[in-house]
């Protein structure tokens, strides 16, 4: 098989992707700072969703505790920076190691003891919540009262120390998202990607075919965790403050997984589209409901919109949109 031909995108898909990239590159030049901050939120959600999509969308193991890896990445990079002045990029690598090891350990423990399905999902929540409470009492990183990065000017762009404007973070996250898109596209065309999909579709059959199911499931979790932690490190340097109760929150885990499910679980572009849909929806609800002095209106509309999407497009918005646009995202 010629690798080049197999990895190439169909023409319409390539065109659509190019348009998307150009639009995203140009956007910060024409929109105001509020829109940029919303776009940053969207890109964070896309990237986390893409990372989560690897373990759940491709390898079929439902993880509900990905806030754990966001938190490990964020805290590792931020603590090394504030305590010893370690460069964020090196701290990020340390975070990748910590989170990747945590992901591999949790996966290995679970799968070795044949914990699967719903039990695995709840175990991932348990580890995330357990770690959140531990960090609440972990004095070296500030405990429950939080860890703060020295605030610097929000202008300019100091890439080495990751200090700069939201626009700088926007471009960094755009690069990260496109990088994740490329990585997953390539992985899916490699042996490991096919193995993951085989495990997702029928684990016993995959095992019978001689696939080392345990090893590939652990690999999916470790990769997903490591990728998530990179986003976590950027989050720490973007927000400049970290509290265990928000960084490791179960609410964050749920946010991470909602976008890819809405967009289309197990598709390449689904997490990105889902992030756009959900974040825009949330912002629209906020501005619409701000006219009314009523608690809970925003959440109510958000919940109703989720219900509508899961009722109308249970497989996600991207597969539907893709069919409308006539784009064949290479077979999944």
């Amino acid at each position: 098989m010629r690798a080049g031909a197999a990895l190439a995108l169909p023409r319409r898909a390539a065109l659509a992707l190019a348009l998307f990239v150009v639009a995203m590159l140009a956007l910060p030049l024409v929109v105001n700072s509020y829109i940029v901050s919303v776009l940053v939120v969207i890109l964070f959600a896309s990237y986390f969703g893409q990372a989560w999509n690897i373990v759940t969308g491709f390898a079929g193991q439902l993880s509900l505790g990905h806030a754990l890896y966001v938190g490990l990445g964020a805290y590792t990079a931020a603590a090394l920076f504030t305590h010893w002045g370690v460069l964020p990029w090196i701290g990020m690598l340390a975070g990748v190691v910590v989170a990747g090891a945590a992901g591999a350990l949790i996966a290995a423990l679970s799968f070795r003891f044949r914990v699967g399905g719903v039990y695995f999902a709840l175990l991932t929540i348990a580890f995330a919540e357990f770690t959140r409470i531990l960090f609440d009492h972990f004095g070296w990183v500030g405990g429950a009262s939080g860890l703060f990065l020295p605030v610097s000017s929000r202008a300019g762009a100091d890439l080495l120390h990751l200090r700069g404007s939201p626009v700088m973070f926007y471009y960094l996250l755009l690069a990260l998202t496109l990088g994740a898109l490329t990585l997953t596209h390539h992985l899916l065309r490699r042996r490991i990607g096919y193995y993951w999909q085989a495990i997702r579709e029928d684990e016993e059959a995959a095992q019978a075919l001689g696939i080392d199911v345990f090893r590939y499931k652990v690999a999916a979790m470790a990769l997903s965790a490591a990728m998530t932690s990179v986003g976590g490190a950027f989050l720490a340097f973007y927000e400049n403050n970290l509290y265990p109760d928000t960084v490791f929150a179960i609410g964050r885990s749920i946010e991470i997984i909602t976008a890819p499910i809405i967009g289309g679980l197990g598709t390449l572009f689904g997490p990105v589209l889902g992030a756009f849909v959900l974040t825009t929806l949330g912002e629209a609800m906020t501005s619409l409901s701000s006219g009314f002095e009523l608690n809970g209106l925003k959440q109510w509309c958000y919940g109703a919109a989720l219900l509508l999407i899961v009722a109308l497009q249970p497989a996600g918005v991207w597969p539907w949109l893709r069919a409308r646009l006539g784009i064949a995202e290479v077979r999944r």
Binding site: T56, L62, L64, L109, S110, F113, R114, V115, G117, V118, Y119, A121, L122, L123, I125, A126, F127, E129, F130, I133, L134, D136, H137, A144, I250, G251, I254, I257, T258, I261, I262, L265, L294, N295, G296, L297, K298, Q299, W300, Y302, G303, A304, L306, L307, V310, P314
Partner: protein, 285 residues
């Protein structure tokens, strides 16, 4: 002696936890759907009891039958209208559906009652019973007694009534149940209603022990998960055992270590059990 008192208090609270988790366990055991809106349903029960208590002055325990019946209808309708379409769908779609339901419930409660904590004033709130060396809070004893009665009623329903037996048949073999002519759709709706009723009754009893506020729901959804997994998803005695274990573990760790660490101990217990005995303490392999 102090420790014995704390353990007993934990057991009493744990009985209410057990009743709450039983609802989750029954729903999963029969319909195979994880009810991610379980804590939210309990909070609905708590607000219903609070509303009745504050309007009519009725004790939450006296309001319990009414609230339980209301929650049964809510659960029945929810299963019939919404969840039934998703029982054969992938886990993540069910998750999203129930997440949407949970979000709407919490938002509705926020709209109706606001974010402030509410409680009921009981004239016996500080009474206690002296039993040899044991000193038992009256509210805790009442709550636990209510929970034990609830569990007993449920057990009798599943063992003695035709509907209860039919539901157990559905849980054992859905196709077989359909073949012998059981109305599986209706039985599933009854089951979800029963699960909701359990958690509604538990909500009334919890109102004796804690204040109610819309945002506590997630914590109790998680707590219910911990309990049923400890005991074994789908096992009724397991849910009760899990509830008692978590009650004691919370009480002890809150006293010996630090109240803010009590849920860390519950999660540690869960991780330990999942790794040593993944099917839960009383679950079938």
């Amino acid at each position: 002696m102090l420790y014995l008192n704390i353990i007993v208090a934990g057991l009493l609270t744990g009985a209410v936890y057990g009743l709450m988790a039983l609802g989750l366990s029954v729903i999963f055991g029969v319909i195979r759907v994880v009810n991610f809106a379980h804590g939210e349903m309990m909070v609905v029960g708590m607000y219903a009891a609070w509303l009745i208590a504050s309007r009519t002055g009725l004790d939450p325990i006296a309001a319990l039958p009414l609230v339980t019946a209301g929650l049964f209808l809510l659960g029945y309708a929810l299963q019939r209208v919404l969840i039934n379409r998703y029982i054969a769908r992938p886990e993540h779609e069910q998750f999203l559906l129930l997440l949407a339901v949970a979000t709407i419930i919490t938002a509705s409660l926020l709209m109706g009652f606001g974010p402030d904590a509410r409680n009921v004033q009981l004239d016996y709130a500080y009474d206690s019973y002296q039993l040899g060396p044991l000193l038992l809070d009256k509210v805790r004893v009442l709550a636990a007694a209510g929970a034990v009665l609830g569990v007993a009623a449920l057990w009798a329903f599943f063992k003695l009534t035709r509907t209860g037996k039919a539901i157990r048949a559905c849980a054992d073999n859905q196709t077989g149940a359909q073949v012998v002519g059981l109305d599986v759709k209706r039985l599933y709706a009854v089951t979800f209603g029963i699960g909701a009723a359990c958690v509604g009754a538990a909500g009334c009893l919890m109102l004796l022990l804690i204040d109610v506020q819309p945002y506590i729901a997630t914590d109790y959804t998680l707590l219910a998960f911990i309990i049923v997994i400890l005991g074994g998803l789908g096992s009724m005695p397991g849910a009760l055992l899990g509830g008692l274990l978590v009650g004691v573990s919370e009480a002890l760790s809150g006293f010996v270590v630090d109240p803010s660490l009590k849920s860390a101990f519950s999660f540690a217990l869960l991780i330990l059990v999942l790794l040593v005995r993944p099917q839960g303490l009383l679950g079938r392999a």
